[in-house]
């Protein structure tokens, strides 16, 4: 189990303040938060490549706070992969074994597992984006780490490659029995790849929860935006269409686009403003009041036209009351 206890660090004008959480073996955590919130800094502190002023990091009961990176049994994959261009794929995968030979896997085993055995003698510039991702993952896994940390692994790749990499990460999570810590801006990625979600805001850990409870109870507008709730509707407008009995402390409701359903008798009535087609679904922007629209995500083959009036419905359990954003 990884335990992060009261980590505080100052980097110039920015600081991380009193961050604590724990992660059980084999569980997966996504750290989300706006750009500059301190996600990568926190990950580097856990990996041991960045110094901090206060707090402890404990892995399986052992205090690793002051251990050098290679003695922590934690691997880290940076956002830009940081593959070494002057080495071949084999040279890249072998690199960490130079410094920690004792527990390494065979290069062929890890390459076979990730489907890159045929690329071992290639140079990095000869690889596609997806192949580079798998090489970087192989290099991170070859030392049999207890924890694999991934810094926005899906941020700079195309949709097809992204799906392959998500599949590869899930394969790694299942095959290697390790814990992963994933930094991401994307709520979808967090939801797909993690059991827990930690939200960091201005250097503070403001929420740590299972993904389901966070998804079902975002609490306020800021959290709702962070976890990807795209529809945040003022409560007075919502009540015009949909009677709702909630406390006055809630000012908005949050609705996942996929929770809405096409229903000719539905209470939510609006006009189709725009239709955006994605590979596996479409998003339809529906104007429900003057200046207020919501996004409806659907796989339906129903023919819908721009400008058409449509009706939607939603189950009450999928309407999340939201408070104003805390300062």
């Amino acid at each position: 189990m990884l335990e992060v206890k009261n980590i505080s660090a100052i980097f110039g004008k920015f600081s991380l303040r009193n961050i604590s959480f724990s992660l059980k073996d084999g569980k997966h955590l996504a750290i989300v938060g706006p750009t500059g919130a301190g996600k990568t800094s926190l990950m580097e502190i856990i990996a041991g490549v960045r110094k901090h002023q206060e707090g402890k990091i404990i892995l399986d009961g052992q205090d690793i706070t002051h251990l050098p990176p290679h003695k922590r049994n934690i691997s880290m994959l940076y956002q830009h992969l940081s593959l070494f261009p002057h080495y071949t794929v084999r040279g890249n995968i072998a690199y960490p074994l130079r410094w920690r030979k004792e527990k390494g896997m065979s290069i062929h085993d890890v390459a076979r597992n990730l489907g890159i055995e045929h690329l071992l003698d290639r140079h990095i510039h000869e690889l596609s984006g997806g192949e580079k991702q798998r090489v970087a993952l192989a290099r991170a896994l070859v030392t049999r780490p207890k924890i694999l940390m991934l810094d926005e692994p899906l941020s700079a790749i195309d949709i097809v490659t992204k799906e392959q990499v998500i599949a590869t990460i899930k394969h790694i999570q299942d095959t290697y029995q390790l814990s992963t810590i994933l930094i991401t801006h994307s709520p979808e990625e967090a939801y797909t790849l993690a059991d827990y979600i930690a939200i960091i805001k201005k250097g503070k850990l403001v929420r740590y929860d299972t993904k389901d409870s966070l998804w079902k109870n975002p609490e306020d507008i800021w959290f709702a935006k962070m976890i990807g709730i795209k529809n945040i509707i003022p409560i007075d407008i919502w009540r015009k269409m949909y009677p709702l009995n909630i406390s006055s402390e809630f000012t908005h409701v949050g609705i996942h686009p996929a929770s809405l359903q096409y229903d000719v008798n539905g209470p939510i009535i609006g006009y189709v403003q725009e239709i955006v087609q994605y590979p596996h679904h479409k998003e339809i922007i529906v104007q429900i009041d003057s200046g207020v629209s919501l996004i409806w995500q659907t796989n339906s083959h129903e023919t819908i036209y721009k400008g058409e009036q449509i009706s939607l419905s939603i189950s009450p359990k999928n309407i999340y009351p939201l408070k104003e954003e805390k300062a």
Partner: protein, 250 residues
């Protein structure tokens, strides 16, 4: 259009050098090549420049790295200071070397003299004079070379267990190697061609530029041309070999 102007410019640059070569005869060249004084001057220039380049590397590689990684701050001020020797007249560089290392003018010079190291009239003086005027070229090239290597690669290497030194030796240095070779070539070429600082610090033993100047002064242009052609040819050959060794981008 680009090709035309590039060719014209190259022609204008090379014309005086071609002219220099046809201004002498093979027998005059052979005579110069078999003259022990000329050979000694050539040796002093090339050996001195090589030592000056090695000395420059010792300083420029760590300084360039520290500047590239923002360890030396403010970077612009440091770069401006370290480039002063390249900006002042080179005779001023000679004055600086004399004032710093001559036993007559400084405690450092007196200390060195007590231990048998003299600057004026020695090879050590030549190397120091060459070094002071050429080291900025190596520092600038080293800074550019290391700046071009993403810091993330080093951090990744360290996260995998490499010590900072090993991350530098296995990642940063090989990736910056071509840039460093470029710096070495520029430094060496500058050191070989140095006249002003060298003549101030150490007229004897003579270097090739000093010899060209002396021959011109005493016997006229005709006598100085063969030594100039030999110096130019050897420098050109070394330059080409180093470029090829350093790769196409060096």
């Amino acid at each position: 259009m680009f090709r035309f102007f590039s060719t014209l410019l190259a022609f204008l640059i090379l014309l005086p050098f071609i002219g220099l070569s046809i201004y002498t005869t093979p027998s005059e060249l052979w005579q110069a090549l078999t003259n022990t004084e000329v050979l000694e001057a050539l040796k002093n220039s090339f050996v001195g420049a090589t030592y000056a380049t090695l000395m420059a590397a010792i300083f420029a590689i760590p300084i360039g790295y520290a500047l590239a990684r923002d360890v030396l701050r403010p970077r612009k001020v440091w770069l401006a200071l370290l480039n002063i020797p390249a900006m002042v007249p080179h005779s001023v560089g000679g004055v600086v070397v004399l004032l710093t290392f001559s036993p007559k003018y400084s405690p450092i010079g007196r200390y060195l003299a007590e231990h048998g190291f003299y600057i004026t009239g020695t090879m050590l003086g030549i190397v120091l004079a060459m070094w002071i005027v050429s080291v900025p070229y190596f520092i600038n090239a080293s800074y550019d070379a290391f700046k071009s290597v993403p810091h993330g690669l080093e951090k990744a290497a360290m996260s995998m267990g490499a010590s900072p030194l090993m991350a530098f030796l296995t990642i940063t240095l090989p990736l910056g190697f071509r840039g460093l070779i470029t710096g070495a070539i520029q430094t060496w070429a500058r050191a070989v061609s140095e006249f002003g600082a060298v003549v101030m610090v150490s007229y004897y033993p003579k270097t090739a530029p000093v010899m060209v100047y002396e021959l011109f002064n005493n016997f006229g242009l005709k006598k100085s041309v063969p030594v100039a052609v030999i110096t130019m040819t050897i420098s050109g050959l070394v330059f080409i070999v180093l470029r090829l060794w350093g790769g196409k981008d060096a």
